[in-house]
Symmetry: D2
Subunit: 92 residues, 4 copies
């Protein structure tokens, strides 16, 4: 089972929070809140999207690039973990 | 009038497109699409949020940091434009 | 006096540390260190460059976009500080 | 042979160009060039470091995470290529 299926409920919960953040952002624009409040809402949406990306990329590497059913060598597993650690600094 | 008010309709249209993208992403998770399709949808949402951020930051600099009613000097206007140009490469 | 002149010694010290990091990276490639060590060195260089960018952009906003000799309004100063806070999350 | 060994000359040439860019940046600070010129040099260094990171990450995925000697399945190869395509948009 793919990680996006196994972790389906958690991922959907994350996406629903992002939906809520985007709805707040829309509301702020409609109600003409000040620019700073709007910038902060956009920055929050971006942070949430980046967090989701990081989680899905991590699952993608661990389950699809490294396939646990394909007997990955310890070197491959280590290379995957190192890659994940480095990518996390990019996806913040 | 603030840029987020003057450009209100355009900004709201952008946010509504993002809402649509986040809804597609939710749907893909619910329907258990494959991980790559999901990664691409997340990357699209991120691109759209970054594009929105870039536009709002640009307006914020031109209208709030540089205040056109405060007689900015040509040096300030130039410094603002240079800042905007550099930030665009970060917010892609 | 421009911030890059006033803070000249600190900025040069930062750039010299970056030079040292890039020299270590070159050495690692010459000596055929493993890929992970090389990735970590590149990530360190990137972090150091981003830190430098953040500091110089901050000075640029505070002294050139907002010109302290041009009697910025409290609103402009506040808008500049908000911009700096948001940009810091991008330049990490 | 690891990709950082096989592509050693090309990678070293890239790192030497970065060294040259960092040296120019140092010189600009020493000579008190204006802030915009300095910002542009920092942005160029950052672009060059990101380009190098992207190349090394790509090699890391293709040779260490996916190990060509470990008979990767077509699905793994495809998952790796999709990951590389998505990461390229992050490492620009």
């Amino acid at each position: 089972m793919a990680h996006t299926t196994r972790d389906k409920e958690k991922l959907i919960a994350r996406v629903r929070r992002i939906k809520g953040q985007v709805a707040s952002l829309e509301q702020s624009l409609v109600e003409e809140h000040d620019c700073t409040a709007i910038l902060q809402l956009i920055a929050s949406c971006r942070g949430a999207i980046n967090g989701l990306m990081s989680v899905v990329v991590e699952g993608h590497i661990r389950e699809h690039v490294i396939d646990p059913d394909h007997n990955p060598s310890p070197q491959q597993t280590e290379a995957a973990e190192e890659l994940i650690a480095i990518l996390k600094t990019y996806m913040k």
